[in-house]
Amino acid sequence: MRYIEPHGHMVSRTTDDYQAMVTSGCKAVCEPAFWAGFDRSGVQGFYDYFCQLTDYEPKRAAKFGLPHFCWLCINPKESEDLKLAEEVLSIIPDFLSRPSVLGIGEIGLNKNTRNELKILERHVELAAKHEQMILVHTPHLEDKLKGTRLILDVIKSDKRISPGRVIIDHVEEHTVEMVLDTGMWAGMTLYPESKCTPARAIDILETYGAERIWMNSACDWGISVPLAVPRTVLEMRKRGWTEERADVVAFGNPMRFMSQNPRFRI
């Protein structure tokens, strides 16, 4: 088995996790910028975090032979503070030329507020100006349906953004179709208590096809499983999927999407 972990918050994980992922066939990991579990006190905290994502963490992953890439942004949970968000947005361009940066993400919405929307629009503007790919976080639980609609409206309204260079992550049964209909990619997150289980993720793939969908563990500091993608491949085998068909979803699709950025070489 081989796979790519296209969404893992490795700064929150241990070296044991790196070892287990590589042992299970992981060929690359991609880390979107996210909320630390607490609000940072200022822009300097983000500067340090971006240094960690673009410098320290790739070196840590390299010790296990694993290529590490990242996406940069201020996450929507901290976007209510417009002044802080603007300060963070102003330092992102300084990092975009670093060799492991794939684009802007994970941007999006959390509680679907006007301030979050403003900062989402600023991120989309930043991506368009610097010709960056986009990775989007959709809200949790009861906020996901409304948030996904609002996010899609913002991105579709900017004609400079090519839908094929955008992935809308954390889709579930009630949002996947509207995402795929826009021409954007969809990401399914495999969580034990929320988002998708392996069985449901396979249901979605069997219903909507695997043309523009990837799977990820989104492993972080919360309840999450770094090996969720390879475990879902095992579930695919139980469901009668061939190795080749599973490989398209676990490896081929994230490879195809992220290879649109020439920096993504593994």
């Binding site: 209510e80 006007r114 979050e116 949790h140 639980l141 409304k146 579930e172 049964e173 009630h174 449901r200």
Partner: protein
Amino acid sequence: MTRNELLDLYFMDARAKLIDLAAFLDRVDRGPGEADFRLAAFRKALKELAGEKPTRARDVLASLSDPTTEPAEKAPGKGAIGAWKQ
């Protein structure tokens, strides 16, 4: 996979989850005090399981979702609860 093959693979797991749901509702009923909006939302979503179309997962998720379209003026907090409070 055929229906029976899927039953072979998932029936016991689904059966366990079904009993867990029943036990959860019994547990809440035995508890003292008034239940907040989540119990009503849960019971409403449960009705989607009796639907005839194979879109029950989507319909349950939609039932628990915020159906409004206008952005909120301010975030009430950072977390989500799992059901929409009218």
